[in-house]
Symmetry: C3
Subunit: 231 residues, 3 copies
């Protein structure tokens, strides 16, 4: 008895070739797992989940000397709801919770301490940093970058290639990192740039390519660099 | 007899370790296949093709409840021309056609119903969405994002990190999705943003970082946000 | 005797499952290697290095007819310093040197003839093109694009999603390719665009979303499109 727990599998689980499953993993009924998948220690996977080829689930963070990072020991296992669909070449960390029916596109990556609400879409090649809360029925389109310490409320739409930041002093100050807050049903155009700590109000719209340096009030549309309201 | 067709291999095919090849795949002469490669059902690969490690060819699309998507049954197999070079960690979907001598860089992904003409370059980490037609001798540089329902004519040059979109109402309307059209030999600078439905004329130039909200006439150069002609 | 050299392993090396190691590889003490990793011919790995799952080290470049590329024969092996940490789904080419304590995030890729100084961070999904020199204690944040023929001095900070370019004529001229030079301790905001050949001076700051078309003098802050000095 060494305390190791064998993985637990539901019924109707299908495995691709060369799948690596670590200890204490729990996999629900009718889960489909691709080829060359790695499922790390403790990961919980709901029923009906689909996992593409070459994907890593439950990765533990690392750091070099230049980075401050809490020890991974306190991270909860990765928890994946029912009917979630995960693409190929995805990396999802320990300490993440994905609600039911979430879709994670190919090559997306999601760091620790992130929650994603039910039926949200994390597009292909999207990168989500730690400690960010994403609501339900949110769309984050392809290649957008979601910084850490961000709040994205329900039904927000983020177009492709958007960029966000959380550090006013770009690594040079002691600024408390704070990403943008995007409120209910706000919409962000492709390749928009959002600065640290700003709030995009409910139902507000940010135009494609806009550089948003201040709060956008609810229902308003901002465009340009720097972004200003449309008359 | 269950109707399954065994893969067919030409002469001089070399395989890396741990390659997964599904039924009904056809591989031409002198093809080189890397390690941990997945070649899905029905994929056709021409002679002299090189395939990097950890690449998936012929993937079938998926969707969650929030997305409308045609059933994959009607998609043709992935068809790869002669002498095509495909990098590592690439994902290419069923329903794609790659012309002879196309190069697809590492970590690029190409969705279904896309055609790429001969000798074109799809750079590293480029993402191409469904139903887009890319001509011959086109260059799409690293990390650019090619939306769906786009037309890119022959010899177009798209610099790195460009962003395109196809949905004027950002998920909120019934707008018919239409990506930009980029005409013969037009050139797009790095990190430019192209809005839905616009046309970039023949030999036109879009400057780096420009946000293009309207058509650019043939031969003109546009820069800025919003983009305006250079005098 | 065919001249092949067997790999050489230090003490305390741990291997994931399904690791492919080619000839003439040298691996130091206490190296940790993930699952489905490919280590190509000749790669040198220092002691205490961590390598994530699904990563390729020492890849040889390829090209199609449209691209000019020197033959790979003259590239030195990939050389990885001590205590380097490399994420999952990373691709690093032959002809790269990584200093001690460098961190390379998941899904990053680094082309040939690149050097990275000690303790620098190459963030997740960052792409580095050939022939670029990156100093020590540099941070390149997530999804930024570092073009070829660039010089990044020590302690530079590059925010997420930045874009750089090196070709004034976008594939149409005989311009000598030259990427930007970023001097000591300069800081670049997220989604900034840097044009070919410009210099960002020591301690200078480029605002988020700025499009930098000219040199930025030392200590100055530039914002906007085109970027201008802040009063």
């Amino acid at each position: 008895m060494d305390g190791r727990k064998e993985p637990v599998y539901g019924s109707g689980v299908t495995f691709g070739q060369h799948v690596v499953i670590e200890e204490d993993v729990v996999i629900g009924d009718n889960v489909t797992i691709g080829n060359f998948v790695v499922i790390k220690r403790g990961t919980r996977i709901g029923s009906g989940v689909q996992i593409g080829d070459l994907t890593v689930l439950g990765r533990v963070p690392f750091a070099n000397k230049k980075m401050a990072l809490k020890p991974p020991a306190e991270l909860d296992p990765l928890n994946i709801g029912s009917s979630v669909k995960i693409g190929c070449s995805v990396v999802i960390y320990r300490g993440v919770t994905l609600g039911d029916d979430v879709l994670v596109g190919d090559m997306a990556s999601i760091r620790e301490r992130v929650s994603v609400g039910e039926s949200s879409i994390i597009g292909r090649s999207v990168v989500v940093e730690p400690k960010t809360a994403i609501g339900s029925r949110v769309t984050v389109q392809t290649s957008s970058y979601i910084t850490s310490d961000m709040i994205i409320e329900d039904q927000v739409f983020i177009g492709p290639c958007c960029s966000t930041s959380n550090d006013k002093y770009m690594g040079a100050g002691n600024y408390h990192h704070q990403g943008p807050t995007i409120k209910f049903q706000a919409r962000i155009g492709n390749n928009a740039t959002l600065l640290p700590g700003i709030t995009i109000g409910e139902h507000a719209v940010v135009g494609a390519g806009a550089v948003v340096t201040k709060d956008v009030p609810p229902g308003m549309t901002y465009v340009g660099n720097p972004a200003r309201p449309i008359k």
